[in-house]
């Protein structure tokens, strides 16, 4: 797939998810916590990119950060900065982990996603992790794992890995 087409799809996807996250999904919250689809797609974009490449991850960080701050009513610099830190951290961890295996296993995905989600939320909304926070993390993890398998199936069909 051409890189510009990939980025255009990502841009439109983040925009659409931003709209639904701000206006549609809050009606389906569990104890006030909503699923953060932009963050999930951003994480998938970083996770499924080669560890030594950064273009897709950084592009996703800026666009996801932009839409997250527009529709989550936060500051651009804070969210984009936080996502960029996550990109570099995930890339570094994946680089260390994939020395032995060249796959995208769920055992890497789930803990890394959970750590990133906690880091992101604690930095954006400074709060003590309580029961509701835990519910939010589990809720997002379940959706993220579902998206992970969907993405993997799609990539296998497209690229054969």
């Amino acid at each position: 797939m051409a890189i510009w087409l990939k980025f255009l799809i990502l841009f439109l996807l983040f925009g659409f998810l931003g709209l639904s996250q701000g206006s549609f999904l809050p009606h389906f919250s569990i104890m006030g916590t909503t699923v953060n689809l932009i963050f999930i797609i951003f994480f998938l974009a970083v996770f499924f990119e080669e560890p030594q490449k950064y273009t897709q991850g950084l592009f996703s960080a800026v666009i996801a950060g932009f839409f997250l701050s527009v529709f989550s009513f936060s500051f651009f610099e804070k969210i984009i900065g936080c996502l960029i830190v996550i990109v570099f951290a995930i890339k570094y961890i994946l680089f260390l982990l994939r020395k032995k295996r060249d796959k995208y296993p769920i055992v890497y995905f789930a803990p890394l996603f959970l750590l990133s989600y906690i880091f992101f939320n604690l930095l954006i909304t400074p709060t003590c992790p309580n029961f509701v926070f835990l519910i939010g993390a589990v809720y997002n993890l379940v959706i993220a794992v579902f998206c992970f398998y969907l993405c993997k199936k799609f990539l296998i069909k497209l690229y054969g890995f």
Partner: protein, 279 residues
Amino acid sequence: MNVFLTKRNAMLPKILIKVIVFLMFIGFLVLFQEQFKNFFYSISEPLQKTFWKAGNSASNFLGSVFYLNDIIEENEELTIKNRELLEEVAVLQQTKIENQALKDIIGNGQDSQNKEYKLILAETIGIDGCQGYLLINRGSDNGILENMPVINAQKVLVGKIFEVYKNFSKVMLISNKNSVLDIKIQKDDTLSFPIYGVVRGDSNLIAFLDLIPIDSEIKNNDILITSSLDGTFPKDILVGKITEVNKDDLKPFQTAKIQLFFNLNQANKLFIISDYKLK
């Protein structure tokens, strides 16, 4: 080795230029943050409204399917409560007539307490429940200012205006982590001393009651209303009700879990009290 070093040196300016362009882009976004957001809210407003209405309808439909038994029970309770209230209204109407007659005799026909506030109608187009913010389609062009109180159609307190854009405003919900609101506990016994406290936001559309003196008698289902002590909100606006009292004799104050009357399904149309500070 030398070839590697030369290649690396050649790549350095490229990387540097990329980093500078990237930082300039971020700086540009940050500098024109307000304009960018207003622009995006303007172009996405029709879609956001559609999404909001679709979400509301879908959640109402699903809610009615999943909570059918609860709704039946609630309906029965409300029917009984409604009957009691109708009786009370009849008594109060009689008292009102007598009161008005007395006022006419005294010559003080105008009741300043019954004056209504000037309200600006706004529509909700987005919400961030986790952080406790809401986006409405009225801004500085409509006369909205920071700290104006926001209520819903049921005269339940929603929050206050936090940030104003040209055509949109951000409302800080009373469940926001940074929200602290002075309240009074409404008691049936009008002769007893009023109990004051604060409602603190706890994010995720949750808030709790705090700073209630340990010797004050509070119980479940006590109604909380605004007290207007801090001057931001008018008094006697409904806030919520107590659901669980936490009393610890070792602490100077008691706290309580509360259920806010504000609910997402009633947030389609909101009202901004625009002249409270002027009164």
